[in-house]
């Protein structure tokens, strides 16, 4: 564990009982967790190497309660860590000793579905899948689909601008949210955007999406709904080299075809997933692409034929089209289960760097070298269409030395991504994990501009502090 948390405010720790009592009076309907065992549940997120017991945990059930809690914390200089389902892989929801965890997982209501505007108004604690389930009967779905979609909340998706496998066609969260109700740190409630497209004035929505809970707490959102296509079908393309797979991806896009998804798995990932799900993946290839297209049966046939034709120029070892809905579901089940499957075999540290697509072969090659240098195995599963890599560094979490080495290995991989023209994180967020690497990508002036924005919304930096910006970074005067 190489990353420190900010020093707690001793005065706040000393007033813990008083703060908890006041909160209990202030929001009697909210669930307030103060005992150690209860707080233990919230001590970490999906970056489990880092843990910290918060001052207390509060689970409100309305925007008004969120507002009262934030106003109280603001007046009393108590830090607040917003949280949804706690699936952040970057420590974005890691508590602080002197902070209240504000968990929105009880706010799960679907408030309205509007077929004419093709939007749904939902509370921020609803799960990603929950939105699609709620609108499926009307023939719609909510497009962003992160791997954790069964558990993760829309609020968390907004915080990290989540993507997923199908964002190559449909975009990420920022492209699929039209409005939010935001509670500022001082308790003020502000509506940004809504039913209509493109809010007037500055694009505050773009700032809120991806701000990792540092600018305000989103309690409701208006999301864009997409009509379910007539059909969708993937094809599996196996290759003997990662280079061939990577150049095939570029060739498909250059040919004017933008599939809904192009997923990449390397040999270790293929084997683990096939063993876990029996999805029918070929085991004798170095790289596997799952390429999915949508449309009517004829459109799908046409596009898959085109894609297979392009693939044949890159010497595929396997070309296998899904024959029916069951096969398609199984192919995706394997991909979506990948992280879990690998997790059954080994602890892993999941990276999230992004690179320009043309640098894919070089990036995979270098990542292999870096991991060998640190004596780790690595599995690669990622969204190839948009260059968002997810190398999984396999290590033993019970060995603190290995953890530290894995972190160094990961940092080196992310620096490589930036050197190749990419960025540190595509969809997981900076959180605590990549905080100190921000100077790799940004200059002082770049980061200071971002920090000034933080100060606009939260002048005292009480909201999810210690994340995103390097710890020594202080709000500029």
């Amino acid at each position: 564990m190489s990353l420190a948390l900010p020093d707690p405010d001793r005065a706040v720790l000393a007033r813990r009982d008083d703060i908890v009592n006041q909160l209990a009076t202030l929001v009697p309907e909210a669930i307030l967790i103060t005992d150690e065992e209860g707080r233990r549940t919230f001590e970490t997120d999906a970056l489990t190497a880092y843990r910290c017991l918060p001052l207390a945990v509060v689970l409100p059930s309305s925007t008004e309660e969120v507002s009262r809690i934030l106003r109280f914390c603001h007046e009393n200089h108590v830090k607040v860590v917003p949280r949804g389902a706690g699936t952040s892989l970057a420590g974005g929801a890691l508590p602080l000793e002197d902070a209240i965890v504000l968990c929105l997982s009880r706010m799960t209501k679907v408030l309205a579905i509007d077929v004419a505007t093709r939007t749904a108004r939902v509370e921020a604690g609803i799960t990603n899948t929950g939105i699609t389930q709620a609108v499926a009967a009307q023939g719609f779905f909510y497009a962003p689909d992160p791997s954790s979609q069964i558990a993760c909340t829309l609020g968390g998706n907004v915080a990290t601008n989540s993507g997923g496998a199908h964002c190559l066609k449909y975009g990420v969260t920022v492209n699929n949210v039209q409005g939010v109700r935001l509670v500022l740190m001082d308790g003020e409630i502000v509506d940004i955007g809504g039913d209509h497209l493109d809010a007037s004035g500055y694009d505050f929505l773009a700032l809120i999406v991806g701000s990792e809970g540092q600018l305000g707490v989103v309690t409701e959102a208006t999301v864009r709904l997409i009509k379910v296509p007539e059909g969708a079908r993937p094809v599996l393309l196996g290759f003997d080299t990662t280079e061939a797979a990577a150049s095939c991806v570029g060739a498909i896009i250059a040919a004017g075809i933008v599939p809904v998804a192009i997923e990449f798995m390397d040999r270790p990932a293929i084997h683990v997933c096939e063993h876990f799900v029996a999805a029918g993946y070929p085991l004798d290839v170095e790289a596997l692409l799952i390429v999915e297209v949508e449309g009517s049966d004829d459109e799908i046939e046409y596009l898959l034929e085109k894609i297979e034709e392009i693939a044949r120029d890159h010497n595929p070892a396997t070309v296998r089209r899904s024959q029916n809905a069951e096969e398609s579901a199984l192919i995706w089940k394997g991909r979506k289960a990948a992280f879990g499957a690998i997790g059954q075999l080994s602890d892993y540290y999941c990276m999230d760097g992004v690179i320009p697509l043309s640098k894919l072969p070089k990036a995979l090659d270098e990542i292999g070298w870096i991991c060998r240098k640190y004596r780790f195995d690595v599995a690669n599963i990622f969204h190839a269409g948009d260059g968002n890599l997810h190398p999984l560094i396999l290590y033993n979490a019970n060995d603190p030395l290995q953890l530290e080495r894995a972190e160094q290995c990961g940092a080196e991989i992310l620096k490589l991504c930036v050197e190749l023209g990419g960025c540190l994180t595509g969809e997981h967020g900076v959180g605590i994990e990549k905080r100190e690497l921000m100077y790799v990508q940004y200059s002082d002036a770049d980061l200071e501009q971002q920090m000034r924005i933080k100060t606009v919304f939260d002048p005292e930096w009480l909201l999810n502090p210690g994340k995103v910006f390097p710890l020594e970074g202080r709000p500029p005067q």
Binding site: N161, G194, D203, I257, S443
Partner: protein
């Protein structure tokens, strides 16, 4: 050329020169009017500055990777140049930017990409493809402190820090001056079909538009216009119809576009789509929508109103009871271009009152300078959002020298 006054006109060639210039303006408290080639200069409140800074000499496409769907352009690059480069590789800007130049007396394609992004003006495909801001991957800019800043990058996904690039989109040059923009581009549509219905009253026309959107056929253009506006278009069957015109576009590879059009015809049978435009006809029709041909050649006030499809025809009908209006509905009714009579307030009182009832926001895109100086051009914000707006402006431009007053009085 744009023909504006050259007095106090600065057109730096590099971000460094621009940064130096802004720093000097900060030191001397000189307000700067920020623009590209000035084709949208007459939108917004008059800035009232003797000093103009333009990006028109920052021209070029330093990076274009068709197989990565990425194009990086210098902010002053004319839109036409970017569209030409893209077309050579059968790609396009997916948000189909509306070209406001021709309705304001400038030539088509003259606008710069910086201006397109800074105003976040998206065209008909916005309804399915997203807005200009949705395609911004990263920017380089000079803020109001004279610092060169960058945000985002040139890759498809990026949540490394706050999304400063998208905030600059739609900020009308009031926060920072963009010098370089990375954009996501997409393959151009090869085959297009447009179904056209005639004589539908507004509520029925808009209903046909969102019924079309409620299909899985990726409908990418949905407009409905009053008879008087249709008269201004080139296609003889449309200009000569003498009734309202409702148009719905589908695109894709040839067989698919044809399939989608035939299925849509069934769905819309009750609205009697009497005309179908092929690819060439469609291109010509949608290009006229994109350049707002029906509003060219006059100086009548023109509003751009973002509302909901369900409220759009009510909004127009409500206004029509008070003042004479002509309306083009786009985005399946989510956007209304509304021409009002040359009243001294351009109809602002009525427009704002109606929007207050029905929701949405309105921007006065065309009006005489005297009108623009006297009324709110952009939708007035609620006090809390206005306070955040002022603070955000302060965070980028503490001296208040970039396009002061352009969007909001005193800001």
């Amino acid at each position: 050329m744009t023909g504006h006054m050259r007095l106090g006109f600065h057109a730096p060639e590099t971000a460094e020169e621009l940064a130096h210039l802004v720093a000097e303006a900060v030191d001397t408290r000189t307000p700067l009017e920020v623009m590209g080639r000035g084709t949208k200069r007459e939108i917004g409140r008059p800035v009232g500055s003797g000093s103009v800074v333009s990006t028109e000499r920052m021209v070029g496409v330093p990076l274009y990777e068709p197989s990565e769907l990425v194009l990086v352009a210098q902010a002053g690059t004319p839109l036409r140049q970017i569209e030409t480069v893209l077309a050579e590789n059968e790609q396009e800007l997916p948000f189909e930017p509306v070209d406001l130049g021709p309705i304001l007396g400038y030539g088509p394609g003259e606008a710069t990409i910086g201006g397109v992004i800074a105003t976040n003006i998206s065209g008909s495909r916005r309804v399915i493809a997203g807005a200009a801001r949705d395609y911004v991957l990263g920017v380089k800019a000079v803020n109001g402190r004279g610092e060169i800043i960058k945000a985002g990058g040139r890759v498809m996904k990026n949540v490394t820090g706050y999304d400063v690039g998208r905030v600059l989109a739609g900020s009308w040059g009031t926060l920072a001056i963009m010098t370089e923009i990375s954009l996501k581009v997409l393959p151009a549509q090869r085959e297009i079909r447009t179904l056209i219905c005639f004589g539908l009253p507004d509520p029925t026309g808009v209903e046909a538009l969102w019924l079309a959107m409620d299909t899985p056929f990726a409908v990418s253009g949905t407009v409905h216009m009053h008879a008087g506006l249709a008269k201004g278009l080139s296609h003889p069957d449309i200009s000569g119809a003498g009734v309202s015109v409702t148009a719905i576009r589908v695109e894709n590879f040839p067989a698919s576009a044809r399939y989608r059009a035939s299925r849509l015809k069934q769905v819309l049978a009750a609205y009697e789509p009497a005309l179908e435009l092929d690819t060439m006809g469609s291109r010509a029709f949608w290009e006229e929508i994109r350049t707002l041909k029906m509003f060219q050649g006059t100086k009548a006030p023109l509003w751009r109103i973002s509302t909901t499809p369900a409220g759009a025809s009510k909004l127009v009908a409500g206004l029509a009871r008070k003042i004479e209006v002509r309306a083009l509905y786009d985005w399946s009714g989510g956007l209304v271009w509304l021409e009002t009579p040359p009243l001294s307030d351009a109809g602002a009182v009525e427009v704002r009152r109606t929007i207050a009832e029905l929701g949405g926001h309105a921007t006065l895109v065309r009006a005489e300078a005297s009108t623009r100086g006297a009324i709110d051009i952009f939708q007035p914000l609620d006090p809390l959002l206005m306070a955040l707006t002022a603070k955000l402006k302060q965070a980028f431009d503490p001296a208040g020298i970039l396009n002061p007053g352009r969007m909001y009085q005193g800001l």
